[in-house]
Assembly symmetry: D2
Homo-oligomer: 454 residues x 4
């Protein structure tokens, strides 16, 4: 549990049937963990694009009536957490617009590094106007501009990728084609699947499990996949030009544990991290617990390796996703307990190893350790399945500025003291990549070591 | 009562106080008759623009909470009926966007003739993208483009007006200025007023009455008025270059009777039309009635001139503005009666002169005459306070195509027979302009005589 | 225009078809002027009662989906203005409940005088509990109690009427019967109609016009009409036992002008009142205007009799039925103007006769006269189509207490001065009943003369 | 995971502060697992009761505005799952009503056995009317009736308990008192706590953890606790007269694992059940998994006892609590997967022990086993932490009729075959009570063995 906000999730389907909106609905539900602020679906019916999008969860925004009104043979969908741009309704995606060659719908996950520069350039050179504050509009202009010197939309996307710097996984729907593209570094996941004769794209494979689609493969960094008239072709012009750099935090925190990215199970990566922790940072304790939900798998791994029994340490309230109540200062503790209550029966009088994914500012960790101590834990040994955050992320993860990261202002011992733990251990930077031994990709680990790939 | 849909209403306020959103709310309520589909308010707080807009009536879209969140020292507002572009939420105005010089908010009433051409040009030349289907986005691009070669926003608006062909009354809010502009033909109304130290602009003067502002004057065709740091300046570069051509249907139908346009009272224009009808198309009858609401004033004029007593012929249900029910075919008659019920006590056994504003397809007139006959009217003499529609409108009025206009396919006698009237009279084309003797402007009468001004 | 709030409207239909809910929907729309706070429809499908009710206008509360879910062969409907009991959702009607003989649905218009006593008695004697604050629950208990000693529901209703004191028009739906009942004084209207093989009941005949039903007759005071298996029977045990006493204010203000009550047209009654005023309280003036909507017909009558031309004096904004905005003190004048704007062109420099229906506290009249004077009226002669209110109403009209009625604390001259009129005339009490010469009933005129019938 | 629906949750607070509504809000959030259909809060301000209730989750129904409008010094709250009565808005609780001694608000968890008889009796004897279909209205009448022969509300409650047969935990708010009562069998939990000078009551102790209140004790079966002017008194007239019979399914499934009932931790009871299963029904396997959420603790216990590693077998989607989509038949499998996705990486090629809480009809178990097999599980050994259901529940648990319970129509071997498991084991009836060794109460185990206590 932590304050880093998840990013967006995207989905696309090219089908010959007519239930693409409903399939997209189910897929977006499976990707909801990647963004809870807004969502949308655009469909293509006889080359015309229709859409519905709004702020809210997938289950709140879409009704049977709305889905039934979205008939078509292709669709793109999006769940949004606002990494760049505000949370308003105007920033909901997919972004649908008309340009010189008809309509396009774009769903985007990522963060451009040169969005500001491009925006300024387009405004000055082309008199462009920007109605949203999201990067996606910059991508739209870049593609629209590139289309002038291209013979096809895929060529325009390919040309646009020369200009766009940063992380972007895209699903784009044109009047006749469905196009998926991943930035040359491969910072954000995007995979391809198949269901019957339909081709599907999704941020994570768990969306395929939900809709009963077969996983085909992860897109390569820089790859563009084009689906047209049922044929799938791949453009690899941008492939292999940059260092493969999947955000390693996808394994640690963002992705759903049941997803597989570049052949590496997310769950297994977390279990492995827990095992490494158990070896490198053992502790004398009675029980291992995880902080729900992202710490659970690592706790299972820690328990397995250490032979210390695993148990549940907290009950998470599953019904408080939405609340219109702003807690006052004195209610803040209540608001936390409303979401997470320690299992006194398990922790009372015990020496506890508490596995969490990371520490950002330290305040959340401090609060959780306090909950355990108040519930009677004799000792609380905090183990983190990632190294300490030292650097901000410029590729779509909501990690705060350097000054706010506790590891930049406190020594490890000071952090331990601040959060009230009896010991503190975290994954060594050098072992970070070993949590994903099966991953057929390189990693971006900039937030831990400052090596920015772009 | 008729099927021609009203157009949009716009409002702007430059103030030093902080209640501009609420003042705009009241003004938009007064302009609600010009558009019931969507509405919005944008405010300027310390050079930043914030806005709220949605589909629905002003009274439904805005709450105290929302208005209180819209603090600022300038505002523009809009009520929309979709003359061009669909009715979706994305077409609600004001249109707010960022461009090379910061943010702009535009509220627009009118219809461009060259929107399609400009859109295409911008897409091809500048790689522009269009996220709405409204003309306003075209205006936005034109201004943004012109800004590159201008030293101020007002200069850009002035340059843009060289390019824009069609009807447009605009209120534009920039970081520091409030700008009102009217097309060189002056097709749509737009007037200026003052409340204390605030300058206000509105489609119709009735908005000023509501907010207690003083009417100053109607903008000239082609005029641009700039309010900055409390100073009002006028740019008249486009003035006097085109034939002054106010849509005369504003007097007959669109505008609220209590508005004054170019020094001509709308109510008085209608009364005058009724008096002319009484002279030119008299009838032996017991009573004069008007079809609510637009036919009432002309009926009063007819009664006055003819000395035949005026009375009410229909009761209009004031509560059925909104209904989610789609009547089935057999319920259609009920749905009409739900809105309009003849006053049997008044019409039974009587010879009735029924004054309405116009005939489009003839179906509505037929239905209303039938209602009166079923209620026992012995004779129904239909009198129209406008000539017969013969031509479509390209400047923002929702008049259908030539083939659908009954006057193009039927003789007057055939129309009379079709609608079931005992006699039919309408305003002679030559006398049309005499209904507005005080109007300090020329008129567009293209829908009646085909003389298109652009 | 005045502050006395309208009462409720009720409707019932016994049908063999399956569209009773939709027919009730249209009928309630026609009765919406009798109550805008809440509404509801209950249907009977195979002896089971289903219902939907909520706060809001008929057009807001019901959708096609909801109406389609309300299938049945009988229905009762209600629009509520809260004369007794608060405005909460729990007070929405029809009241549906189970009792010893199955389910009942009751729609009620009126006000019991002995509600408090009965409530107390039932609580003490029978341990009754009250979940609403409306009189209707008291009626429900009274009928349920009477059912014990009756062989049929209609007998129970008849017995209950021995106990209930006050005004009540009721439509009651039992598993097999539809029953309409009117209090022995006949204080509130209730009429019967027919559409095909269906029998319908409504507060006012305008509901029949809307749904295309034929008016049969007004129920007699004290009459109970039972519809069962298509047969209509009448129980007249309570008829003729009390003085017939229709609330005369129904003609003056409550009822829709196109309704006919006891053979008397509402519109005609108002015109007649205007004519009497013109004879008894003439004035030298240029124009006659009415205060919308209830003053219009009387103004037409005044103009007819006085030969002074009629015109419109105000424009009423038809779109501000609903607003979520609470005006601050300084906005109060704006809020009034938002609803009603004087037609300056008509009143400026003129001597005006302004016809309204009544004066309660005087504040509204004062405000309207002020509007006219500000618009330039040279003189304003106020004429009221009713006598002065001197006494509160205990039968369902929201007339305030004696002290608040201006006529109890001011002389006529003082009232004139207070409201700023140049002269003030009102209907003489003795002539009150002559406004309804065709009415086949007596009247309750207690609010004017203090002669309470119960 | 199973189809037995949870029951209601209740809460009450007697305070001297003014934030009772917000405290109740947080407490109800903690009790949300006991009912997700409707909720409500009633407060007592100077002896008057105000309330808000509606269908929906606590987080959807209440906003800051609504909570702020609910000022008072006492409150009762309710979350509802409809065990008896339908799910309509009218059945939302607390039930607030007026009776001979003022107002009462009642929140009820449980199910009366003699509701129908009492309802009929009250209808016949007292002419009672029933506006809801919930048992709570019957309780209200019983108390109101008893009040006639009592000198206080607590005496009335005590007398009412002579009449009421079935399960009921109640929190009742009168003008001056807050009263909690539990049926003489103690079928449903209800406990008392303290926060500062406030006394609180809740269905489960987890609500106290959330609001930071101290747990005092579980109410005894039959106990009535009265809080008045800050004093707490207890009436034990009904205590010890019936066999103590807490529904043992509270430990197995209903209650939140972090609650403690009668001194027995719910979590520990589940772990114990898992341990017993491991001893009595071992299996050769690679991994132990639990079906979220209720099977997790038992799985932890099974793993601990068996030394077979525990891991997570499924990912539960936390965001699909609400959906407006009705899946078609072919989408049903998708809808299941949307909620629960097997962790392929963990189960593939493995022999799995899958711990769930119970089997009702067998369809859900079959579906889950299938999911595991499709994910590649080599063997699936199903272990249930409760005996087989053989009998319906009449005390508030939504267990279906005998014929629908698979254990009544299938042998154990047939069940195993039907659900597709490789082996099937369940808790022996005789060992059932040993899962709660610390529980200071007896149990109702009727659904397993048919020994109904009432």
């Amino acid at each position: 549990m932590k304050n880093i906000k998840e990013e967006c999730g995207i989905f696309g389907i090219y089908d010959t049937g007519m239930s693409v909106a409903k399939t997209t609905y189910y897929a977006l539900s499976a990707l909801q963990h990647r963004g809870q602020e807004a969502c949308g679906i655009a469909v293509n019916l006889n080359r015309d694009i229709f859409y519905h999008k709004d702020v809210g969860l997938v289950g709140d925004v879409f009704t049977d009536d709305i889905l039934n009104s979205l008939q078509g043979t292709m669709a793109v969908g999006h769940v949004r957490y606002s990494t760049a741009g505000g949370g308003g309704r105007e920033n909901a995606q997919p972004l649908v617009f008309g340009y010189r060659k008809g309509q396009l719908a774009i769903a985007h996950n990522g963060n451009l590094r040169n969005a500001k520069e491009l925006k300024h350039e387009y405004q000055v050179t082309n008199g462009s106007i920007f109605q949203t504050t999201s990067d996606t509009e910059v991508i739209a202009y870049t593609i629209a501009k590139a289309r002038a010197e291209s013979t096809s939309i895929q060529e325009a996307v390919c040309k646009a990728m020369n200009v766009l710097k940063g992380s972007y996984s895209l699903v784009i729907m044109s009047p006749q084609k469905l196009i998926a593209a991943k930035d040359p570094w491969g910072l954000r996941p995007l995979c391809m699947g198949q269901k019957g004769s339909s081709i599907v794209f999704a941020s994570e494979s768990c969306a395929f499990d939900t809709i009963g689609a077969k996983f085909i493969r992860e897109l390569e960094p820089g790859e563009i996949v084009v689906v047209e008239k049922g044929n799938v072709t791949s453009i690899k012009e941008h492939c292999g030009k940059e260092k493969s750099s999947l955000c390693i935090f996808e394994y640690i925190y963002f992705a759903r544990p049941d997803s597989v990215i570049y052949n590496q199970s997310v769950y297994d990566a977390r279990v492995t991290a827990g095992k490494i922790l158990a070896k490198d940072h053992p502790a004398l304790a009675d029980l291992v617990i995880g902080v729900p939900d992202s710490g659970l798998a690592a706790a299972v791994g820690f328990a397995y390796e250490s032979k210390i029994p695993y148990t549940e340490g907290f009950i998470k309230n599953r019904y408080v996703a939405r609340t219109f109540i702003k807690p006052t200062q004195e209610e803040r503790e209540i608001a936390v307990r409303m979401k997470l209550n320690p299992l006194k029966i398990n922790v009372e009088g015990k020496r506890i190893i508490m596995v969490d994914d990371s520490i950002v500012r330290g305040t959340t960790s401090k609060r959780i350790v306090t909950l355990l101590k108040e519930a009677g834990a004799k000792e609380v040994h905090v183990r983190l399945s990632s190294p300490l955050f030292l650097h901000p992320c410029y590729y779509g993860t909501d990690i705060p500025s350097k000054e706010e990261l506790i590891a930049n202002t406190h020594t490890v011992e000071q952090i331990r003291e601040y959060i009230g733990a009896d010991s503190l251990g975290f994954l060594d930077s050098e072992k970070l990549e070993s949590i994903a031994p099966n991953a057929e990709c390189g990693f971006c680990t900039a937030c831990f070591d400052g090596s920015y790939v772009i």
